[in-house]
Symmetry: C2
Subunit: 389 residues, 2 copies
């Protein structure tokens, strides 16, 4: 079954389209990524999304119109992608569309004085996608998990489970983006055996330091060249490793609140006082990033299950110092790039929504309560029929 997955992230720069060839059913589901395409949003569309997502005042008219307009954008992206891949639309059996998040609140908050409501809002009208492409479309996956008491996120660990589950080998899928997160898939795991959490910082601290040190000329420490020239500041590293986030039991999620600009600014001024060199600070933060992942393995993963392979993805895997430190800290665990499984990094999330749609289409549950906190598993997604010919 050929399935298209589509995703537009919170940065709202455009739509990622993935083409997946999927067959079978869990535990023997096979999924291959056959294509990736990116369609940028027109400037005015992006600005409108970001304005609304940032909480600006709007009207039901504007949200309604933007929902339909984004439906056209998603439909257009799918059609353009198929044209590029030279695949006729009628060869695509199903579309899974995440849509564009314009609001997400995973835990209940006060609403209308006496009520408490958790909610999420993704737009990009699937009826428009189904009509323009003629392809049955499943969209809007997060509300189903939240209805079942979950946070509506993360949804990708379910796909990690389907793709990386092995009857004999315990695996961890690690993604080092701004934040680093892990999905733990024990050997022969059932869904409830899988767990996932954010280990702590990914590239976020090092990137912020490098940007500051370089006066904005560099966005990240390419090839760990800056860190390579420095020495670890021991007392600082030890202090960083005592961060309460690392001790908190999973499930847990981290963000800019913990390891964003304020954290980096504090590190920077601390290092200034001690007259530490910039490269020493970058090296210390780089080692901390790797060790916070190792720390998560020692505290929360290895005591619970045996891990033989770590499947690494994300920009952080290109930092050789992080990877060397991980390998040193995780003796006996084989580190494998996710590309070895045929999953290119950029396409990962869009690809995941193709698989989530495939599962929903077959009426099978597609959330991981152990990852989202939902009270039970559920079939996420809303199905809109393609054109009846």
């Amino acid at each position: 079954m050929r399935v298209i997955g589509m995703m537009s992230g919170t940065s709202a720069d455009g739509i990622d389209v993935a083409l997946a060839n999927i067959s079978g059913a869990p535990p023997r589901l096979a999924a291959k990524l056959e294509g990736h395409y990116h369609n940028r949003f027109p400037k005015l569309v992006r600005e409108t999304i970001l304005r609304l997502a940032n909480g600006a005042e709007t009207t039901t008219a504007e949200i309604s119109q933007l929902n339909f307009l984004l439906g056209e954008e998603f439909a257009g992206a799918a059609i353009a992608a198929c044209a590029k891949w030279r695949i006729p639309l009628r060869k695509i059996a199903l579309i899974g569309s995440h849509g564009q998040t314009v609001f997400h609140q995973g835990t209940p908050a006060k609403f209308l004085s006496t009520r408490r409501v958790a909610s999420t809002l993704q737009i990009g009208e699937p009826s428009i996608i189904a009509e323009r492409t003629g392809i049955t479309t499943i969209a809007d996956f997060r509300p189903g998990d939240m209805a079942a008491g979950g946070h509506g996120a993360p949804l990708v660990p379910f796909v990690d489970y389907l793709l990386y589950r092995s009857p004999k080998v315990g695996r961890v899928a690690l993604n080092i983006g701004g934040i680093a997160n892990v999905t733990i898939i024990p050997a022969d795991a059932r869904p409830r055996d899988v767990f996932a959490f954010d280990t702590g910082p990914g590239n976020m601290i090092v990137d912020a330091l490098v940007e500051r040190i370089s006066g904005g000329r560099r966005a990240y420490d390419e090839g760990a060249r800056i860190a390579a020239k420095g020495q670890v500041i021991r007392p600082l590293l030890e202090k960083m490793l005592r961060d309460p986030y690392l001790r908190r039991r999973p499930p847990k999620s981290a963000g800019r609140e913990q390891f964003g600009g304020a954290y980096a600014a504090d590190l920077f001024s601390r290092a200034r006082k001690k007259r530490a060199r910039s490269e020493d600070l970058v090296r210390t933060a780089t080692i901390f990033t790797a060790l916070s992942i190792v720390d998560a393995f020692r505290r929360f993963i290895l005591p619970r299950t045996t891990v033989r392979q770590l499947i690494a993805a994300g920009g952080g895997t290109k930092n050789p110092l992080i990877m060397a430190q991980l390998q040193a800290g995780l003796q006996g665990i084989e580190i494998v790039p996710s590309s070895a499984f045929g999953i290119g990094e950029e396409a990962k999330e869009a690809f995941a929504f193709a698989i989530l749609a495939y599962e929903a289409y077959h009426g099978r549950t597609n959330n991981l309560p152990s990852a989202t906190g939902a009270k039970h598993s559920a079939v996420l997604g809303k199905l809109v029929h393609g054109r009846v010919r």
Copy 2:
């Protein structure tokens, strides 16, 4: 198959819940109304809906939260209705939910400077309904019709077609609400033979006059008692019958723009000048209402098809003067109340959404392009799976 239909109208006073027992498939679909229940919205919920629907400023947060909160309200209404009917939820196979309209624009309008967008927004998160009840839920019917180029309305004529279609008898379903509308179902009709339009005013003009004359003490002319005391003002009636709306070819829709407060105020001041009595004015408006329907039959219905039965519903059917005038004007057509078909008036729309959901569930198209203006028929609605046990 037991199916619940739910609807909340533009007045946002609460949720109508209908229980339908449906079997078979068109053209031999059978549907029986087995229960009706009305659940009022809490005051603050209603006020919030009306505020947003009236175009007040809001945020994505508020719309997202209201969508989930209304999901809880719809779920609660379904659960309360089943408790009242003493039917366990597990005996209900499907829910069809219209949701609450907070924006609707049937024809494209300018958006983001260069784009033209028609759109509609119904809220009341179906994932919440499906989760709380455990019942598979189909919701959000209008966007599919608009995606196919239709106005997203009216949707009920499709149900009139399913319920009232006869292999031998040509029928017209007439609803006299504020506005009067007809669905014409020729004998042995295929979907494309059916057409529907608003004939013009229903109770709107008479109600406005009565309210004005009574200083707000009466909302309508109960039993046509006021009109019974008056005489028709001929020249005024003839002028009213020359209204350009009546001449416009269907499909067409009328609203407060044509026959609302301004129209009634104009009539009133006109009658004042001629020193007409109030009861004469009410009688003239009552006769006009009936004759505008008769006029639609003569101009647009009878030249196209043979009609043997008129199935009348709506508050206007309780006005004996309207009904007598209709009967006088439509010689040879039998007038039958919709209750003769087992469909109580209040439950009609909610019942309709149970049937629309039943059709969508079976993957069958459920719009009438001849009524909505869509370029083709489509399966309207988004399906959310009930709980997987």
